[in-house]
Every structure is written in structure tokens, then in C-alpha cells.
Symmetry: C2
Subunit: 242 residues, 2 copies
């Protein structure tokens, strides 16, 4: 019998240094909204996404003529082509383009986890594809929640619980991680109506106050795409086994 | 009407810098076993406890003739008088003594939170006294979990949930903290049998492997004492309103 693969959950970027990532498949999660938006962009045919970590870098990308998607604290950057809502990426004009992407939490988390064996972009939108890949690959898994300004958040944790539960149902996975246990329990507690449960989440209220909460239900829809975006050098591209 | 007081939960010392603590009552929690042991020591009449952050400092205290309680990774230090089990402090010989106390997680957390308005030592053993004090005092509250080597742990989180739930039932408290929400939900999920729920906790298994899990049930007993230990300078003493 082959060895059990381990699965752990990291609740925020401030804790990432506590986890071994170089030999792991790290699944980056920022459900509201960065990783949901990135998965949407790939399902609409974007060629690559370049994560940028701050506003100045995003501005330089714009000056070079790139398409720029960017926000700071939920507000669209004034020079950006559009913001970070997944709905912005449902647009045939993005097909085969390169987009520079700047977000409050997501981009910084990507840069922090860049030395992972593979850094995969996870969301409900590519859930089953992600699950299948992780089951069939040989590496241990860390689910890496972006959180909110380095604090724990509920929406990323629920996703971590959903994915952890599915992986633990399968023979090759086990865990001794309290964060993983808590995530699974919170995910089950949120059933059958995750939307209602998320009424408790602080970020939902932040988005509502900004008029941006129309995406929440979409961001919790399973399996809109089979594409798994993956970091390759300084770009995110569609993962291909070959 | 007086303003609502806020309550937040910090899951690990690695996240403490994200929270304002200087104007708050910070409740330090290390259920298995530091804060349970400290509460026990005061209920048995200890005069003061001096937290020390590392083995060398503990050794110097011993050389000065102090009583030393100390462990590293669950193993009693070879020069210490005893370890960190609450049972060690149930001893008339500790009455009116000063004890130097060295633990893997708890002591470092105490030092990290020393600039709190008040740093209170919390456990199930002094739960009701703590709750009453926090309700009647005017300051906001942060429940500060020691975690395990800077990672999230279940046993401290459950206590945070128990205390948060009780405080939120009362008029003067509110929260917009996802960690607080998750803690309350996990606490309720663990009912009615917290011991069985904690079978999932990684640290329980660590203690069992070291033969130290006999204290777990005791550490989850409510209201053995009315004393609230509090940090005063570099010492922990029994809190007094006067």
C-alpha cells in the first residue's frame, strides 16, 4: 500500500511560514473574490494572469499597455480596466489576453506561496477538477486561505473544509491538523445553506457595504470549469499535465 | 445607553500583532495546560508566578533557589521541581511561594501580550469569575489562544467559543470577528460531550503519547476557583479590584 498523503489547512498568510510547502501541492483560496475571479477568467479563455502585489506595480503594467484588473480594499483602482469581480471576466474580449491582476489579499498570498511544489488556484468553480488532481497526484496538500488582512475568515475556511472533507473520504489522505478538523466541522455546520451561514461572515458585510455582494452566490457555485490555474514563474496559466 | 463592547478572538500568538490590545482586557488561554495550571496554583494559595520564556532563564531561577515548574515539548526539565500538570500545583507546599514557570507555548504568549490593558489568565477553572469581571468592566475583550507552536488548536478555540458565547448573550457585547463566530460554532458543535469532541484534537494525542492526558478532564471542569490571575509587571498575581 502506498503511504497516506497528508492534508493541512493554513488559515492566513501570516501563518504560512509554519508549514512546509516546497514539496506540496498548495491550493490558494480567496473565495471572495480573487481565486473565484481567476478561475472565471480562465474559463473565459484568458491566456495568462500576472499577479501584482501593489498599486504601483499595477500602474506600471497599465503604462506598458496591459489590461489591468485591480482593487484596493474593494474599490476599483482608478487607472484599472476593471475590478476584481468574477463578472468582469465574463467577457469575450479577454480571450487569449494577458491580464495584470492586483488584489488586497490574493496577490500577496500568491507571492508568499510561490515556492510551493505547485501553487494551484482553488475555488468552488473548479472544485471537482481540483479534487481529482489532488487525489491522483502523489504530493501532500496544503490548503492556503488568503483570509482578510492576515486574519482568519469564514468563507475561505468553509471552502477548505469542503475540499478537506472530500479528500479525507478517499483512501490516500489523512490529517492531524486541528485547522483541517475545524474547517470540515464548520463546512458541515454551514449545510445545507452556506449562503445563510455566511450572513455571519464579516467580509460579506464589507462587500455589501460596497455594493459588491452580488457575486457571493456565484462564487459558491460548484464546477463551472475543469481548468486548474497554476503559478508558473511569475504568471498564472492553465495547468496541463503534459 | 452605553456603547457596545467588542469581543474578538486571536487564534495564535503569530496573529497577535493584528489586534489592538493596549486598551483591552486580554484573556490568555492555554487550556492544555499552562493557564489551567496557573489557575490551579492560585486556588492552592501560591503568592505569585514568574513566567520565564526559555530553559536557560528557568535554570537561573533554580540556581537562585526558586521553585521551578517547567517543561519543554511536554517533558519536565531535568532541573525543575515539577512539570506543568495542574495536579503538580495541588500541594500545600506551594502556599505563599513564588514559582518560576516555563512552558512551551504559554509563557511566550504571556510575554507577547504583556502590553495589554490587563492580561488575565483564563481557563474553565475560573470561568464564571472571569465572565463576571469582563461583563462589569468597561474595556473591550480579546481572547488570546496560545495555540500549538503558533498554529491554531482546537482546545483553546473551544474555550474561546464558550466564553464568547456567554459574553454575547449579555447586552453590552457584540462582535464582527470571524474567529469569534467560528469559535462559538465549534463550541456548540462540541456539546454535549467536549471530551469526545477533543478526541479529534492533535494536542490530546501528543499528551497521550507522553502519558500526560490524565489532566484533560480536570482542565475542562468549570469553576474550581474565583481567583483571576493577572500579569502585574513581570509577575502573575491574584487580581484584586482594589
Amino acid at each position: 500500500m502506498s503511504r497516506k498523503k497528508t492534508i493541512e489547512v493554513c488559515f492566513t498568510p501570516a501563518l504560512l511560514d509554519l508549514y512546509e510547502i516546497e514539496n506540496r501541492n498548495v491550493v490558494l483560496v480567496d473565495i471572495l473574490r480573487a481565486t473565484s475571479a481567476i478561475c472565471t477568467a480562465f474559463s473565459w479563455g484568458v491566456k495568462e494572469i500576472i499577479p501584482v502585489g501593489n498599486v504601483e506595480e499595477a500602474r506600471k503594467c497599465k503604462e506598458k499597455g496591459m489590461i489591468v484588473a485591480g482593487e484596493k480594499d474593494g474599490i476599483v483602482l482608478d487607472f484599472a480596466d476593471f475590478g476584481n469581480s468574477p463578472f468582469n471576466f465574463m467577457n469575450d474580449d479577454i480571450k487569449n489576453t494577458s491580464i495584470a491582476y492586483c488584489t488586497t489579499n490574493g496577490t500577496k498570498a500568491i507571492q508568499k506561496a510561490a515556492k510551493a511544489h505547485r501553487l494551484l488556484i482553488g475555488s468552488y468553480l473548479n472544485f471537482s477538477a481540483l479534487k481529482s488532481f489532488l487525489l491522483n497526484d502523489t504530493h501532500d496538500v496544503l490548503i492556503f486561505c488568503s483570509g482578510w488582512k492576515n486574519k482568519f475568515n469564514l468563507e475561505d475556511t468553509l471552502f477548505a473544509g469542503a475540499l478537506t472533507e472530500q479528500l479525507l473520504k478517499e483512501e490516500p489522505f489523512s490529517t492531524v491538523c486541528d485547522s483541517a478538523v475545524a474547517s470540515v466541522d464548520l463546512w458541515n455546520l454551514a449545510q445545507p445553506d452556506v449562503m445563510t451561514y455566511l450572513e455571519k461572515a464579516a467580509h460579506r458585510h464589507r462587500l455589501r457595504n460596497l455594493g459588491l455582494d452580488d457575486v457571493i452566490e456565484f462564487c459558491h457555485t460548484f464546477d463551472k470549469t475543469n481548468i486548474i490555474p497554476v503559478l508558473s514563474g511569475n504568471k498564472i496559466i492553465a495547468f496541463s499535465e503534459s
